[in-house]
Symmetry: C2
Subunit: 415 residues, 2 copies
């Protein structure tokens, strides 16, 4: 669902994959009118897995439709000068709540200086791989961050990639933030802005913001590879008698006390502290004693069913979470259901009804509007050309006849 914060700010999105589309989705969820412009027939990300099985295993992409809900769709031949001209015109159309381009397609015809000749105060946000314009994707950036050497018991020689496209996600929200800040700035000063955001800069600056870079530089030290232990305090996963798996975190002093009380290991912990010469009231010393602490905690979990353990953890206000697969999460966790106001039911053309999310932000006093599902490609071509560029039926018809634009694709699931 969406909130009307952004007064239908018109954002033209020419994008692919995750970072730019997720930035557009974020803007749409706060009430921007995001118009995604795609190549006729779909861009490079249009068919990405997973896809609906019908027809022929090549139905609509659940990936693409998830990232492009809440937007309008315009289909244009991006290879032809007339098509590019239309996109430039859309991105630079006048109005205080317009003149914003969001893209990750670094191409000369969408360069800021080109757009600025048409609208001096245009705001463009270009997501790149590297700051020099060279290609990089989440996977080829993450490998350089050092994280794979310390994930999942990995090492420099046997790195473990994480699966979540975390840098794409960070880029998306950072980009959406930058766009709105630039719009606010333009409203006050009249100045446009060229915003560039490289995936590798996103990752490497984060290493600075989390203190990891200073640690390497000043202490000449790498984070240890410690499996599922958390760094800097105490926390790890434990198995229950019935094959369940539970993560506990004892970061604050209160969380630590709760864990010790819940597991009834106060005396054993006191003895351990004495033996090791450590004070587990201090988070850093809990971290130092993590393996020995874990050995004292393990039997408690191993002796209980998952549900008994969870009930006790909850009673003692331990900070815990249980592991689940996505299907288990959907089946069992009310946080992922329409009972949670950040979720809603959506009927996506070519896909059907399913649970879908709006923005994670809750604004108790503001009415949420329903999210529009991801449109069939080109659904809003004529509407947008008429409304934004003022083209009449004849002009739009000629663009269709010349193959410069296309209307709604056929619903692939329709008979």
């Amino acid at each position: 669902m969406t909130y009307p914060f952004l007064n239908k700010l018109r954002v033209i999105e020419s994008s692919a994959f995750i970072a730019a589309p997720l930035a557009g989705l974020t803007l749409a969820q706060f009430g921007a009118d995001v118009i995604r412009v795609d190549m006729i027939g779909g861009g490079i990300d249009y068919a990405r897995m997973p896809r609906m099985p019908q027809p022929d295993g090549k139905g609509r992409s659940l990936y693409w439709t998830a990232l492009n809900k809440g937007k309008r769709s315009v289909a244009i031949d991006l290879r032809r000068p007339e098509g590019r001209e239309l996109i430039q015109a859309l991105a630079t159309a006048p109005g205080p709540d317009a003149g914003v381009l969001l893209t990750n397609i670094g191409t000369p015809w969408l360069a800021h200086e080109v757009l600025a000749t048409r609208r001096a105060d245009v705001i463009s946000c270009t997501i790149q791989g590297n700051g020099d314009g060279s290609t990089a994707v989440d996977y080829t950036v993450n490998c350089a961050t050092g994280y794979p050497a310390i994930t999942g018991g990995g090492s420099r020689e046997r790195p473990v990639n994480h699966v979540l496209p975390a840098w794409d996600i960070a880029c998306a929200y950072q980009a959406a933030f930058a766009v709105v800040a630039a719009v606010d700035h333009r409203r006050r000063t009249g100045a446009g802005a060229e915003l560039k955001l490289a995936l590798s800069d996103m990752a490497f600056t984060m290493l600075s913001h989390l203190g990891v870079l200073a640690e390497a530089e000043l202490l000449q030290q790498e984070r240890p590879s410690i499996g599922n232990h958390l760094y800097g305090a105490f926390g790890r996963d434990f198995g229950t008698a019935d094959g369940g798996r539970i993560m506990v975190a004892a970061i604050s002093a209160a969380q630590w006390k709760a864990l010790v009380a819940c597991c009834g290991i106060g005396e054993a912990i006191a003895a351990l502290q004495q033996r090791m010469g450590l004070d587990f009231g201090d988070e850093a010393q809990r971290f130092e004693g993590r393996d020995a602490i874990a050995q004292l905690v393990e039997p408690w979990f191993a002796a209980r069913s998952q549900s008994d353990a969870q009930a006790a953890l909850e009673r003692h206000k331990v900070c815990w979470g249980s592991y689940s697969t996505v299907r288990e999460l959907l089946a069992n966790d009310p946080r992922v259901s329409a009972a949670n106001p950040v979720f809603e039911h959506l009927a996506t053309p070519g896909i059907g009804a399913h649970l879908s999310a709006g923005t994670a932000v809750r604004v108790p006093a503001m009415l949420r509007e329903a999210t529009a599902p991801a449109a069939l490609l080109g659904t809003h071509t004529d509407q947008v050309l008429s409304e934004v560029l003022g083209l009449d039926g004849g002009a739009i018809g000629r663009l269709h006849d010349a193959g410069v634009v296309a209307g709604p694709e056929r619903d692939p699931s329709a008979a």
Copy 2:
């Protein structure tokens, strides 16, 4: 470094750990005047590892100082009514570029309705664990997302946690975005906003945005656990003759062609396609054939040094990245150096000079201002009380005498 987008928007931050401080940092990097208010002596996150070795292994935290650069620091006794009153007054002081609270400390005296009695158009952004106000941290949320069961060859029974606090990071940028959107909205409509953002909502809505939730619901399918392979196309890490490790991604058709050409495996790939009845021009079929493809690629890397492999990959425009530890990254990669304009040298009190990052966003036409290092706790107490609340020297002195506020802590590294 910071850009002056936000016109010194005053944001009062009462926070701990990552999500809220990183949101504040993001705002500060775009020119907000972020005033972090801490308990006298430091909050719960003030001493988090890693720390400078001097004195006594308990110098300033590299974690805290990294997340709190570019902000002003005020030290107040948060337990006393007079201290709480000061924070409420700071958060609700008048002005169009003020009246914003950012917090992850869910406490009645910072509740939106309390602040709104002092300033009707206040904007508050509260980051929570769960939407019902219960506690959760990155680790106890991530375990429920299903990712640990498919990370690093993990399984439902042997989950692998990723190390990057990705949900905290996403929350931070989402929160910063929401704050700026609400400020823009207030400027237009005069209305304040209560913004709430739960870490678990952030994670679970992302499962929707990435199509993972719909996949589980509609296709009743979990993502496979495939180690370092990427999902949905071809990409994996490979070892070089000299013990190097390189990630390659062949997501687009052009990237795939480049990889095949670089490794000189065109004929072998053609034969493999025929044998398997697959067309690797299609990304989904590359994914299906990933293990067999990897077998053909492996010998090419195994026969080359890392530097020879990299040179060839670069020549063929393959999408690749090499694995490195953080120290290797710092030593060898110019993207992580002061040669990259998103980085700068910073001298942090109690820590010394080190490389540090500003915002990852580049704005070519706008002058970046230098980032202020993380202040010693309470450095700006008097300045802020005077400037924002108009307290005179006598009043401020009485607050000090009563122990309600504190001035700058001593630099722990000073002799």
